[in-house]
């Protein structure tokens, strides 16, 4: 029984740590690391969804890979929640879950710890591992609550708003590398402003742009060559030619409908080819069809290469890593951390690790342009000068600064870093005057219980 968890432990013969959670408030995910499985009560669907999203958003392997079941008495669960879960149950049954947990554990045992500081690869590794352990495909799920109209379970958690195209880039990367095999599902036309697929297509008058139009069939009466809109012919219940007064009897024999005609209720313009305009329900931007972004939606299946990669991790491509003066490379930092974990395990002592994340958006990075490197150097210099010589510093490519503090407990490190964070924030604001940038920090204890990989993942998760 883990007392920090606000839930009910479900007894089972295999003595697995399976918990039923009904109250989703004030749950600290950290405590779920040691669990074997979760059952979430679907009594509060929105809270349940938010909670499972939180689990799958984590970069901590023992959290995001945690088997999660949804308990719903009537088995009705929204598609989003369902896609993130391992299954729906309508009664509390711990034994089958324990059995599944075992199976999943075996898969997890094949996974080799991964250390990469490339945020893209971290997400890809996570998704590949999720698919590998579940032996499932990455299948898009229709979900109207998401601007794209589809969600990719687990993957979509990391790409919101304007980052949606990066998600497709990542999937393309995985397919190009042969990690994933794709099968066509759908083609979307996305708003070029907010990437929403919820577009209203409007036929508009080419003259005044109004979309208050009405359409009619044209009728051609063969005998007298009269041609006009259907309304010209309607007389009570018959179609009567206004030119020769003959009743139209048989389409294709004495008349036909060769085309349609639009009339604009605003300017009375008559035309046959309306312009097609678009209106985005999310950002309300109007545009033309040609400006929409075409995006194919596929189901992705792990290839053999993908399965290997899922176990071993996507190798970071060779690239020149910026190592600031007084800083160590990320690889060296990871090694130091590994040693620190081992040392603390052996000596049963505690030290701490922290990270300062700049949380720069792509717009911020664009705004900074060439000043970006200079700013990073300035912050590095500031941190180096204001930390102890025994502390080990590193910088990751997702604009996070990592620090191992061998002599400080987490609480002390947190105070120190909070002070530094204020200055870093000011520095950022002075370079990005109108930005709503908000750097953040995370501090964690380095103990024997948590592996260095898990610590890194904790540090780099937003």
């Amino acid at each position: 029984m883990i007392k920090e968890i606000n839930g009910k432990r479900l007894d089972n013969e295999q003595n697995k740590e399976i918990y039923l959670i009904s109250d989703f408030s004030e749950q600290d995910l950290k405590h779920f690391v040691l669990l074997d499985a979760l059952v979430l009560d679907y009594n509060y669907p929105q809270a349940c969804l938010e909670f499972i999203r939180k689990i799958r958003s984590s970069f901590i392997e023992s959290i995001y890979l945690l088997p999660v079941y949804i308990l719903s008495i009537n088995s009705k669960v929204d598609s989003y929640t369902q896609s993130l879960s391992d299954g729906i149950i309508n009664s509390v049954q711990a034994e089958p879950i324990a059995f599944y947990t075992d199976k999943l554990r075996k898969k997890r045992d094949n996974l080799v710890p991964i250390s990469t500081n490339d945020p893209r690869l971290r997400i890809l590794n996570k998704v590949l591992r999720f698919l590998y352990t579940r032996e499932s495909n990455l299948t898009p799920v229709v979900y109207a609550g998401f601007p794209l109209g589809y969600i990719y379970p687990v993957l979509s958690e990391h790409f919101q708003g304007n980052e949606i195209l990066s998600m497709f880039d990542l999937l393309k990367f995985a397919r190009d590398k042969d990690y994933l095999r794709q099968r066509f599902i759908d083609k979307l036309h996305l708003c070029n402003n907010c990437y929403s697929a919820f577009i209203n297509y409007r036929e508009t008058c080419p003259k005044c742009g109004s979309f208050d139009l009405f359409t009619q069939n044209l009728i051609h009466h063969f005998v007298c060559a009269y041609i006009g809109p259907e309304s010209d012919f309607i007389r009570e219940e018959n179609l009567v030619c206004p030119k020769c007064n003959k009743i139209l009897r048989h389409i294709g024999v004495d008349y036909d409908k060769p085309s349609m005609v639009y009339t604009c209720n605003n300017c009375r313009n008559i035309f046959q080819e309306p312009l097609m305009n678009t209106f985005c329900f999310h950002c309300t931007k109007e545009g033309v069809v040609e400006q929409l972004i075409d995006q194919e939606i596929y189901t992705y299946e792990l290839t053999e290469i993908g399965r290997d990669i899922a176990q071993g991790g996507v190798k970071q491509e060779e690239r020149s890593e910026i190592v600031m003066p007084g800083f160590v490379s990320f690889a060296t930092f990871t090694t130091f951390l590994k040693f620190e974990v081992e040392r603390n395990k052996a000596s049963n002592s505690m030290s701490s690790i922290g990270s300062i994340m700049l949380n720069l958006t792509s717009a911020d990075r664009d705004k900074l342009g060439s000043k970006m490197n200079h700013l990073i150097r300035e912050i590095s210099e500031f941190l180096r000068k204001n930390t102890l010589s025994t502390e080990i510093l590193s910088f990751t490519t997702n604009n996070s600064f990592l620090i191992i503090s061998p002599d400080n407990e987490p609480a002390t490190l947190e105070i120190n870093l909070s002070n530094l964070l204020v200055s870093v924030h000011k520095l950022l604001i002075s370079n990005l005057p109108y930005s709503e940038i908000q750097p953040s920090l995370i501090v964690q204890a380095i103990e024997g219980r948590t592996s260095h990989i898990e610590l890194i993942n904790m540090m780099l998760s937003k």
Partner: protein, 436 residues
């Protein structure tokens, strides 16, 4: 040979005088010369005087047109004419009269007319582009344009026609000369006269029969055909008669319908348009067979009521029909009788008659040519057409007459116009069933 021809000639004169020559060529001296040559000269002289005297009236009408500046609709129906439309829009932009909308009607084209039309619509070069996905024939396409037009007057054009800068202005002026005028035919000349011998001959023929011939018929109020290539109509009048009826021959049909309801139809020789004539005799034959068949279909069959006093009798329609039927249909058959008669009774004189006939006709055509040049507004270009004079007797006297006669027989006895692919089968079947 010459000596022998003149020996024969003087012997013929000596033995019977000129009256013998006139009796030998009675067809020419009694029928063709007075109707197509003397009448032309007389009318053209009168018209010339009228034009001079009526200049002020014409100028006032022109001013009235520009003061009122009515909105007009130019409709251009056609199938697979996309390649001509851009050029047409350019020609129309050059017009002195500019208050118009341009409506292009694509009658089920199978080429890229649709794409071209939409592109021109988008760029504002045409105002309305209407398309029938199912081809309905020229009449229905024109009626579609008429239905969605907003102008007070309708100008009907063919897409491959080009215009003098003042052509639209000129074709509208007669509406301000006489309130009763509801239809005005433009003067069509051949654009591609240098393309081939066939086109060159037609350019002479157009001046002879379309320009001068129509000036004469218009003078007498019996002008018969407002060419689809360039004609103007009062929209009210067109709506009253329900627009165009099923063709072929709808250009001639509409003038009859307008006269039947009491309107006048005139020819305006100063409104000049140029069009492409068939460049090969095969295509020309096909075109003329169609034109001639429509005479039987419309004048002999559909509008036969104009001959019946208590039905739709109208004196001008009656004279127009009579003139048309007599000088074309009846005289064509009479001509064959005349030729056979000459061969049978004057067989030994054929060596003399044929060259003499050639000389007489050539002189007459030359005289006509001089008259044409007298009224031509582009003499410098058209005087060269004299080179076609020697070919005209053969062309008009034999080739065209034979083509016409074949068409009359085909239509009179076999209703061939209803099988003409110029119209969709579905409409021809209905027209035949309803005796139209």
């Amino acid at each position: 040979m010459n000596v022998s021809f003149w020996d024969w000639f003087f012997w013929y004169i000596d033995t019977g005088g000129f009256s013998k020559i006139i009796n030998l060529f009675w067809y020419f001296f009694y029928l063709e010369l007075p109707r197509f040559m003397l009448l032309d000269v007389v009318v053209l002289v009168i018209l010339k005087i009228k034009n001079v005297l009526g200049h002020k009236k014409y100028e006032i009408a022109r001013q009235r047109l520009f003061i009122e500046k009515p909105f007009i609709s130019i409709i251009v129906p056609g199938k697979n004419e996309g390649r001509h439309i851009y050029k047409l829009t350019k020609a129309l932009r050059e017009q002195t009269y500019k208050n118009f909308e341009l409506i292009v009607i694509d009658d089920g084209s199978t080429d890229d007319t649709h794409t071209i039309g939409l592109s021109l619509l988008k760029s504002g070069l045409i105002d309305k582009f209407l398309r029938n996905d199912e081809r309905g024939g020229k009449a229905s396409a024109a009626n579609l344009g008429l239905r969605f037009s907003s102008g007070k007057y309708i100008v009907h054009l063919d897409a491959d026609t080009s215009f003098d800068r003042d052509a639209i202005e000129r074709i509208l002026i007669p509406f301000y000369l006489d309130e009763k005028i509801a239809g005005i035919g433009g003067n069509i000349k051949v654009l591609n006269r240098k393309a081939s011998l066939c086109a060159g001959i037609q350019s002479f023929e157009y001046l002879q029969t379309l320009t001068v011939g129509r000036m004469v018929t218009s003078f007498f109020g019996i002008y018969r055909i407002i060419s689809g290539a360039f004609g103007a109509f009062k929209k009210d009048a067109l709506m009253q008669i329900g627009g165009w009826d099923i063709g072929p021959g709808l250009d001639g049909d509409i003038t009859v319908k307008l006269r039947k309801i009491g309107y006048k139809v005139v020819f305006e020789h100063r409104a000049i348009a140029l069009t492409n004539a068939p460049e090969k005799f095969r295509a020309l034959t096909k075109q003329r067979l169609r034109w001639s068949k429509s005479m039987i279909r419309f004048r002999v069959r559909k509008h036969k009521d104009v001959f019946v006093p208590n039905q739709n009798f109208n004196l001008l329609n009656f004279i127009a029909f009579f003139d048309n039927i007599f000088f074309n249909l009846i005289l064509d058959f009479l001509w064959f009788y005349y030729i056979i008669q000459i061969i049978i009774y004057n067989f030994e004189f054929l060596g003399f008659i044929i060259p003499l006939k050639f000389i007489i006709y050539t002189i007459a055509i030359f005289a006509q040519y001089l008259v044409i040049m007298a009224v031509s507004e582009r003499r410098k270009q058209e005087y060269q057409l004299a080179i076609y004079i020697p070919a005209m007797m053969l062309y008009a006297g034999y080739y065209m007459r034979i083509v016409r006669t074949i068409a009359y027989v085909q239509e009179l006895f076999f209703f061939k116009s209803y099988k003409d692919p110029w119209n969709p089968k579905k409409t021809s079947d209905q027209a035949l069933e309803h005796g139209l």
